[in-house]
C-alpha cells in the first residue's frame, strides 16, 4: 500500500500516454505483424496463418524482383542522402563557426528549406530535374545549356543505375540546414577554455579542430546521422511528387502504398515490418549508446 502511494500518482499521470502508446503504437505493430503472417491478399479476407511465406516471397519470388529492386533504390538513396547532408551541414556550420558577417541571416537562409514540405519541394524539383537534354532541356539542364556547360546535363532520376542519387538531391537541399543547426549548436557547446588551452599549448588551427573540437562533435554527428537515416528509410512523399509511383524509383514505402491499393494487405504488412526492422537497426544501437553514456555521466 505504501509502495502504491509512492509510485501511484506518477503512474496515473503517465497512464494516458502509456495507454495511447500501447494501443496506437505497439498494438498496431502487433496487428500489422499478425496480418503479415496471414494470407490476406485481397479484400475477401484471410484464410489463415502462413508463417513467414510472405517475407520469403518478397525476397525470392516477387514478380520482377520488385522488392529487391526497391531495397537497392533505398540503399543508394540513403547513402547519398546521409553523406550529402552530413558533409553540407558540417561545412556550413564550420563556415558559420569561423565567423561570417550577418550570421543570423545566413543561418535563416540555410534553415529555411526545412520549413517547406517534401511535397511542395518535390513538385519544384520535378521540374528542375527535367531529364530532357539539348533543345528539349528544361530546369537545371536548361540552365547548364545556357551557361554552355552541356557536359553537365544529365538524365537525373530517370537514370536506371544512379537515378536514386539524383532523387536524394532535393532531400539533401532540404535537410542540410537542419544538420547545420545541430553542428552549430555542437560547436557553440564547446567551452572557450578548451580552445584557449589548445592555443596556449601552441596548437595550429588544423590540430585544434582535428584533436580538440571534432572529437567533441561525435555525439552531435551521431544524432544527426540517426535522424537523417531514419527519415531516409521512410521516404515516401518526396518520391511520389517527383516521379510518381513507378518501378524506376520505387522504394519500400512506396511499395507498401502500391500493395495496399490492390488490397494485398499481407504483402503490405510484410514490407512494413521489414521497414520497421530496418529503422530499428539504426535506432536501437543509438538508444543503447545514449543510455550507456547517460549512465556514465
Amino acid at each position: 500500500m505504501r509502495r502504491l502511494r509512492h509510485w501511484g500518482p506518477g503512474l496515473l499521470l503517465l497512464s494516458p500516454s502509456l495507454i495511447l502508446l500501447a494501443v496506437f503504437v505497439y498494438g498496431l505493430i502487433a496487428w500489422t505483424t499478425k496480418v503479415s503472417v496471414s494470407d490476406e491478399h485481397n479484400a475477401r479476407g484471410s484464410k489463415g496463418f502462413v508463417g513467414l511465406d510472405n517475407y520469403v516471397n518478397l525476397f525470392t519470388n516477387d514478380i520482377n524482383d520488385r522488392f529487391l529492386h526497391s531495397l537497392k533504390n533505398l540503399l543508394i538513396f540513403t547513402v547519398v542522402f546521409m553523406a550529402g547532408t552530413m558533409v553540407m551541414g558540417l561545412l556550413w556550420a564550420f563556415l558559420l563557426e569561423r565567423g561570417v558577417r550577418g550570421e543570423g541571416f545566413v543561418r535563416t537562409v540555410y534553415l529555411f528549406p526545412m520549413a517547406v514540405s517534401f511535397v511542395a519541394s518535390g513538385v519544384v524539383w520535378r521540374w528542375l530535374m527535367n531529364p530532357g537534354t539539348g533543345e528539349d532541356a528544361g530546369g537545371l539542364n536548361a540552365v547548364f545549356g545556357a551557361l554552355h556547360l552541356e557536359f553537365l546535363q544529365n538524365t537525373w532520376w530517370t537514370n536506371p543505375n544512379w537515378g536514386m542519387a539524383a532523387m536524394a538531391m532535393p532531400a539533401i537541399w532540404q535537410l542540410s540546414g537542419y544538420v547545420m543547426a545541430l553542428f552549430l549548436a555542437g560547436f557553440r557547446g564547446i567551452p572557450q577554455e578548451l580552445r584557449e588551452a589548445a592555443a596556449m599549448d601552441g596548437a595550429s588551427t588544423y590540430r585544434l579542430y582535428r584533436n580538440v573540437i571534432f572529437p567533441q562533435l561525435t555525439p552531435v554527428a551521431l544524432s544527426a546521422l540517426i535522424i537523417v537515416g531514419h527519415m531516409s528509410m521512410k521516404m515516401f512523399d518526396l518520391i511520389m511528387s517527383v516521379s510518381g509511383a513507378q518501378w524506376l524509383t520505387e522504394v519500400p514505402a512506396v511499395y507498401v502504398w502500391q500493395a495496399l491499393l490492390t488490397s494485398d494487405y499481407a504483402k503490405a504488412a510484410a514490407i512494413s515490418i521489414i521497414l520497421l526492422l530496418l529503422v530499428a537497426m539504426v535506432i536501437v544501437p543509438y538508444l543503447i549508446w545514449t543510455n550507456r553514456t547517460e549512465q556514465r555521466s
Partner: protein, 421 residues
Amino acid sequence: MGFTRRAAVAVVGVAALLTASACGGSDSDGGTGSKNVEVFTWWADGGEKAGLDGLVGVFGTACAGQTFQNGAVAGGAGANAKSVLASRLQQNDPPDTFQAHAGAELLDYINAGQVEDISADYDGWGLKQAFPAGLIGNLTVDGKIYSVPANIHRANVVWSNKKVLSGAGITADPKDLTEFFAALDKLKAKGVKAPLALGKDWTQLMLFESVLISDLGAEKFTGLWQGKTDWNDASVTKAIADFQRLQTYSNSDRDALDWTDAEKLVMDGKAGYQLMGDWEAADLDAKGFKDYGWFTFPGNGTTFQWLADSFVLPKGAKNPDGTKCWLKTVGSADGQKAFNTKKGSIPARTDANPADYPKYQQSAMADWKSATQVPSCAHGSACSQGWQQAANSALGAFSTNQDAAALQKALAAAAQQYAGK
C-alpha cells in the same frame, strides 16, 4: 500480477470507449428511409465533372424525391478515391453507389461480396437490348451482372499531327506494323527525333497491349487475360520484339512523362504519333489543337479495345431504391447522352443519335456497333488491379533494361499469380 491485469483492463476499456465514439460519429449521415444517394467518384473537375453534372441533371428529373449527394474524392487519377473506398468498404460503411472500371477490376469487389447482382434489373431497364452483345458478355461474371457502364472509351487509337506527317510525305494511315515502322522511319529520316511520343509505365502498357492485339489477334489476346493463351507463347515473344522496336522510335525521357506531356510532343510537332485512349480527342479539342488525325492501331483491324466507367450497387447501401434509380438513369438514353457529350466518351448504348456528338465520337460510335470488342488491362477491364500493377512494374523495368526475356518471364509469372483470382 494484479497490476498487469488491472492495466490490461484499463487498456481495453479506453480502446472500447475510443472505438465506440468513433463509430458514433459516422452514423449521423444515413439511417433507414434516407432519400440521399451518395455517388462516390473521382470526377472532381474538367470534362469529368461536367459529365457528372449532366448526369445529375437527368437524375433530378427522372428520380424526383431523391437527392444527389456528391462523394467525389479528387486526385491521383482515382488512386486517392480507391483507397478511401477500400477503407469504407472494410468498415461496412459503403457509399450508395461508387465508380469502378467495368470488367475484371470489378472482380475484386465481386469476390469480396461487396457488390450486389443487378442482372434482374438489366431486363427491367431494357439494357440487354441497348448494349452490344460483346459488352454484355464482358460484363457478365458467372451469369451475373454487377454494374451499369456510363460510357465507353476506346484505348487502341493512334493520334497524329497531320502537319508533321505531310512534311515527311506520309499520306496514308499505316494498315499494319510493317507500314507503321516504314512511316516512323520516314519521320526519323526527316529529322523528327522521337516519331512516336510515349509516356511512363501505364501508357507503355497500353502501347504493348495494342502490339499484342496486332500480333495475336483479338481472340488470343483476350485469352491472355483468361488463362487460355500462354504468355510463354512464341507470338508473345514476337510482340515483345515489335514493342521493343517501337520504343526505339520514342522519346528517351518517356519514363518522366505523363500522357499529357507526351501529347504535348505531338502538339508541338516534336513527334508524329501517339497511342492513347480517346479521351485525347476531348483534350486536344479543349486545348484548341485542330490539326490532328486518328486511326486504329496498325494491325488491330476492327478490334475495339474498350474500357468503361460504371456504377454498382454496394451491399449494405443505405438507400438501395434511390441507388437503383441512379443506376437506371446512368443506363438510360438521356443519361448517357448528358454524360458523354460532356466527357468526350461514347455511350455504351447502340441506339444513341450520332448527330449529338463531335466528329471523333461519331466515328467511334460507328465502330462500336460493328467491331470486335476486347478488354484492356491498363484500364482494368481485362485484369485485376494487382495484375495491372505487376504488368506496369514489368514494363517499367523493361523501359530501362530492355531485357525481353525478363519481361516475358515477369508477365508469365504475373498471369500465373493473378489469372482466375
